[in-house]
């Protein structure tokens, strides 16, 4: 019993810490709200669990009634938690909102069934019964609750796995892995809990899942540009510092400096929203082209993008520039304005430092810009 209380209390403390961190951090609004709710529901479940341990088997006036109420609340809460869990999985994997609205009622239905049956169990003993010495026993229909919870968790697991298969972009990967852990942890934990009912494994699974997700969210926020979800400038310099320490035989480090042509014109004529849209298109193109090739993409700010690549020679670098420009041209077809990029690059020379590499890439970029302008005139 001490262990049961301790493990629940430990999970509750960790959950409180997470909630606290979420509350004062600056996550994206929607994310913050759902995550906080999820933590809150977990906390509630753990508290009910602890309360139950203290009540169970103790005899005092109205003990059985109180025990029944706590048990009912616990079962209701387990349904609610799993409902939110799946919703969060859906939310994180970015499923379409429209689809979600159609299924809203259908999706909540199992939770409602669990809730109704849990409350009814106080009289009917479906999920649980409490005997005269105030000890909890399983009810005959407990399997219903267990399978509904299973269904929710399994569903969120598959949602996550499916999303991982679908989205191959580099930046989203880690988060999706985290989601799959989120779906998988309580699912696995639940199986163990059926085998060894005296253990409180469920709380361990959920807590661990949420810690993983929270760490992942934090990591994303530290290292990504909020608009394009590309690496930010910090990350670029960190990447460089590690890359400088190692040598890849047969390949040299190339820095590509990229700049949107006439970005200011887009912003001024079509507004900032359209400007952001243009940046998003560029970032998508870069992700599609450079992501699978393992190049490092980052946004330095404004309309300035930087890609680092390990390439054998200048021909490969020229080819990369061409592919990027081609792809961008295809994407930009339907737009009311011209969306073009200028790309300049420089290869790392022996004994060169980061600054000088960056400067030479910038110089190459301006050279190209100048040439383009000259061509236009």
């Amino acid at each position: 019993m001490t262990q049961y209380v301790t493990v629940n209390a430990l999970c509750a403390v960790i959950m409180t810490i997470l909630m606290f961190m979420v509350k004062r951090g600056v996550m994206h609004e929607a994310d913050q709200k759902t995550f906080f709710n999820l933590c809150f529901h977990c906390l509630l479940l753990f508290s009910l669990d602890i309360l139950w341990v203290f009540l169970d088997g103790e005899s005092f006036s109205n003990g059985p009634l109180l025990n029944k109420i706590v048990n009912a609340a616990y079962f209701v809460q387990s349904g609610v938690l799993c409902y939110y869990w799946s919703r969060y999985s859906l939310f994180l994997s970015g499923n379409k909102v429209k689809l979600w609205k159609v299924h809203k009622v259908l999706f909540a239905l199992p939770m409602i069934v669990v809730a109704v049956m849990s409350i009814a169990s106080i009289w009917t003993g479906w999920f649980f019964t409490v005997d005269s010495s105030n000890v909890y026993h399983r009810g005959e229909f407990l399997i219903v609750q267990v399978s509904i919870i299973f269904a929710y968790l399994l569903y969120s697991f598959f949602v996550a796995v499916f999303a991982i298969k679908q989205k191959r972009e580099l930046v989203n990967r880690n988060k999706l892995y985290a989601i799959s852990a989120l779906g998988f942890m309580p699912f696995f934990a639940n199986i163990v809990q059926i085998e060894y009912p005296g253990l409180s494994v469920f709380c361990v699974g959920t807590t661990l899942g949420l810690v993983v997700v929270f760490l992942e969210i934090q990591r994303e926020m530290i290292s990504l540009d909020p608009l394009t979800r590309l690496n930010n400038r910090n990350q670029a310099s960190i990447y460089l510092s590690t890359r400088f320490k190692q040598d890849i035989p047969g390949k040299r480090l190339y820095q590509f400096a990229m700049d949107l042509d006439k970005f200011k014109g887009i912003n001024d004529t079509y507004g900032h929203m359209e400007g952001d849209n243009a940046l998003l298109i560029v970032s998508t193109v870069l992700k599609i082209v450079c992501g699978p090739r393992g190049h490092f993409i980052s946004r330095y700010g404004g309309d300035e993008f930087v890609v680092f690549a390990n390439l054998p020679d200048d021909a490969a670098a020229d080819e990369l520039c061409e592919v990027i420009e081609d792809r961008l041209a295809k994407r930009a077809m339907g737009l009311p304005y011209a969306l073009k990029m200028s790309i300049g690059y420089a290869a790392l020379q022996d004994g060169e430092n980061e600054e000088s590499l960056g400067r030479r890439a910038d110089e190459a970029l301006y050279e190209i810009k100048k040439r383009r302008r000259a061509e236009q005139i």
Partner: protein, 376 residues
């Protein structure tokens, strides 16, 4: 039997949390300055659990080998625990940039009690000072176990003290939460070590260590997120992201209001009272905004210098005016005890629906602010 399972479960859970954090720490591209120390600490806490688990699992096995392994685990557990207590102190000293961290000799003096404890621990298999192992191969407390608890507690409380002291210093106002979390790495395990001494069968202080390590790690991470380092409000980037998303969607609650807030004569405060006082004034404003507008679901950010922004969805102008009054009232309350005048000028504008860019909204809010300033 069930108890043993529970025991193992908690230990495995703690190890899992530590592993997760360790992975996050090692793969986090952002290099924390104290990454090495933290890695060591994570590793040591993990090894605590492993030694403890092995020792518990060996109960009942009375072969000479099992006895020897148990002795090793017990000693290792105690030694690691002591080193951890010392490492906390170093870690906190490092993070607070205290002098002793750099001075080899001071560190040496500080580690003398640990050396003494090592002698006691290594003597224990023979003399049973700190721990003993009974005929059932179970670990039990030695004759002077309390000395060990005492030494650990001294280190941990010292840690708690030097970090906790700063929580109440105005100078470190914006770092308050960091200091709270650093203090917790001393206070929590120390406290539970004492609790454990009186009631426990479970390694409560090790659990407490996991919790406080988590607290520190999350706090260190969250400080790196794109907030304004001084006031811990959202920065300009976040404002743009938020405003874009709000203006893009149709709201049921009313229209989107953008507030622009500006400190009156902030330059004078800086010039006459110094930058520290200026920073404090900014923190007071940030605090007031968090208190009055946070609960209403407003988005708060510091744009730059002495300029703050709020974004809120409000039903009508009266609600916007109410927010403005509430902020001004709170600021006046806080400013009463300050040697200088602290007041805000607030201008706001409501979005007029689709087609309006954030830039237009900004311009109108700015215009309202200048009108307000001119009226003063």
């Amino acid at each position: 039997m069930m108890d043993l399972f529970g025991y193992i479960e908690i230990s495995l859970f703690c190890i899992a949390v530590l592993v997760v954090m360790l992975i996050a720490l090692r793969t986090s591209l952002s290099r924390l300055t104290n990454q090495t120390i933290l890695t060591n600490v994570f590793g040591m806490v993990m090894s605590l659990f492993v030694f403890d688990l092995v020792s518990v699992l060996l109960v009942g096995h009375v072969t000479p080998l099992a006895m020897a392994v148990n002795h090793f685990c017990c000693m290792a557990f105690l030694v690691v625990n002591l080193i951890l207590a010392f490492q906390w102190l170093r870690f906190v000293g490092y993070n607070l940039q205290m002098h002793f961290w750099h001075k080899k000799r001071k560190l040496l003096y500080m580690s003398i009690p640990i050396m003494a404890m090592f002698v006691l621990i290594f003597g224990s298999p023979v003399f049973g000072w700190i721990y003993r192992i009974d005929a059932d191969n179970q670990r039990i407390r030695g004759t002077i176990y309390f000395v060990y608890i005492f030494v650990c507690c001294v280190y941990m409380l010292a840690t708690g003290f030097i970090a906790g002291r700063r929580v109440f210093m105005k100078r470190y106002y914006s770092d308050r939460l960091m200091h709270v979390s650093l203090a917790s790495v001393g206070v929590l395990p120390g406290f539970f070590l004492v609790v454990e001494y009186f009631v426990g069968m479970l390694p409560l202080s090790a659990y407490a260590m996991v919790v406080s390590v988590l607290l520190v790690f999350l706090e260190l991470q969250s400080r790196m997120i794109s907030t304004d380092p001084l006031t811990k409000l959202n920065n300009r980037n976040q404002l743009h992201v938020f405003l874009d998303s709000k203006l893009g969607q149709n709201s049921q609650k009313g229209s989107v209001y953008l507030f622009v807030l500006d400190l009156d004569k902030f330059k004078d405060i800086n010039d006459n009272f110094g930058h520290q006082e200026g920073d404090r004034a900014l923190n007071i404003v940030a605090d007031v905004l968090k208190r009055t507008c946070g609960p209403k679901g407003c988005f708060i950010s510091r744009f730059a210098g002495d300029e703050f922004n709020l974004v809120a969805e409000l039903p009508d102008v009266a609600a916007a005016e109410a927010i403005k009054l509430a902020i001004n009232y709170e600021i006046a309350q806080r400013a009463a005890s300050l040697p200088y005048r602290l007041s805000l000028s607030i201008g706001y504008a409501a979005s007029i629906g689709k087609g309006e860019t954030p830039k237009d909204l900004f311009e109108r809010a700015d215009a309202a602010l200048y009108k307000e300033k001119a009226n003063r």
